[in-house]
């Protein structure tokens, strides 16, 4: 489908500023989601390097952070 420049500009100008803001917020929550996943994986690796102390607690916290991030990302998409 070939779009002319006028059509593209027309499409972009039709986007509300609040749609752009929503996209930005969703993107921010997505980045945070990725970060919490990295933290979750890293806690697993860290507890492999040194295990026996607070292992369960730290894994629980990292898992909880990740779950919260997933929920909030979904909330941002459907609620904002």
């Amino acid at each position: 489908m070939n779009l002319s420049i006028e059509q593209i500009i027309g499409f972009l100008s039709g986007i509300s500023i609040w749609t752009l803001v929503k996209i930005l917020f969703c993107f921010a929550f997505f980045i945070y989601l990725v970060f919490t996943f990295v933290v979750f994986r890293q806690v697993s690796l860290m507890t492999q390097a040194l295990y026996g102390q607070l292992e369960s607690f730290l894994k629980f916290v990292s898992w909880a952070l990740f779950l919260v991030a997933v929920l909030l990302f979904l909330l941002a998409i459907f609620w904002l």
């Binding site: 609040w18 917020f25 970060f35 919490t36 933290v39 390097a49 916290v61 990292s62 952070l65 919260v68």
Partner: protein
């Protein structure tokens, strides 16, 4: 009659570390004989004599920062920076702020908690997590230690009794730096005792 054979159990000479009670506090920065702790590549018969972390006082700057960031939205209420946003987006901004704060606090805690210096009856191990994605593990045998120095300067370090321990090992081996560890004088003494133990074992031909 002289012994012809001595079993390994009898030969095993546990290093005697005087004046240290075993700790059960998982957040301790100076943990002699920590219960239930093992590290990667630890040998089966190898025992952790001392587990060290940076003194808890080194966490104060980021804790204070975290408290400031925690209270910032209450203060910024008087300076409406995001009042132009609809209420839902303002709430989303606040949630995002506290999520980032939680991540910051957790990451700093993990960095402090897992950056450890371990002294076993056979070697010293330095586990460093520079950030969440970069890990460095160094170790050296106790009998390769040539020189041990500790430094404790400044009023804060003198009051709270923590400092740096520098360990020089033989030849091209890595040198170790135990930064801001509690009771550095005790750490040096323990290393010297272990080094003596290793020398005795070497002389008696009991090398593991």
């Amino acid at each position: 009659m002289p012994d012809i054979f001595i079993s390994k159990k009898e030969q095993k000479n546990e290093p005697e570390i005087t004046g240290l009670d075993k700790t059960i506090n998982p957040l301790s920065a100076f943990a002699p004989g920590p219960a239930g702790v093992r590290f990667e590549n630890q040998e089966e018969e190898e025992k952790i004599v001392l587990l060290l972390r940076m003194h808890w006082l080194t966490n104060v700057p980021w804790v204070i920062l975290a408290i400031i960031l925690l209270l910032a939205p209450l203060v910024l209420r008087f300076f409406p920076l995001i009042s132009f946003l609809p209420p839902r987006y303002q709430l989303a901004s606040l949630i995002l702020w506290y999520l980032l704060l939680a991540a910051f606090v957790f990451e700093r805690f993990l960095t402090w908690f897992f950056n450890v210096y371990i002294i076993t009856d056979e070697r010293i191990v330095d586990i460093d997590f520079y950030n969440l994605l970069y890990k460095e593990v160094s170790d050296a045998k106790i009998d390769k230690i040539q020189d041990i120095t500790y430094k404790m300067g400044g009023a804060i370090r003198a009051i709270f009794n923590f400092g740096d321990v520098f360990i020089q090992t033989a030849g091209t081996e890595l040198n170790f730096e135990f930064r801001a560890v509690p009771r550095p004088d005790r750490v040096v003494k323990i290393l010297q005792e272990l080094r003596t133990q290793e020398e005795i074992e070497a002389l008696e031909g009991r090398i593991r």
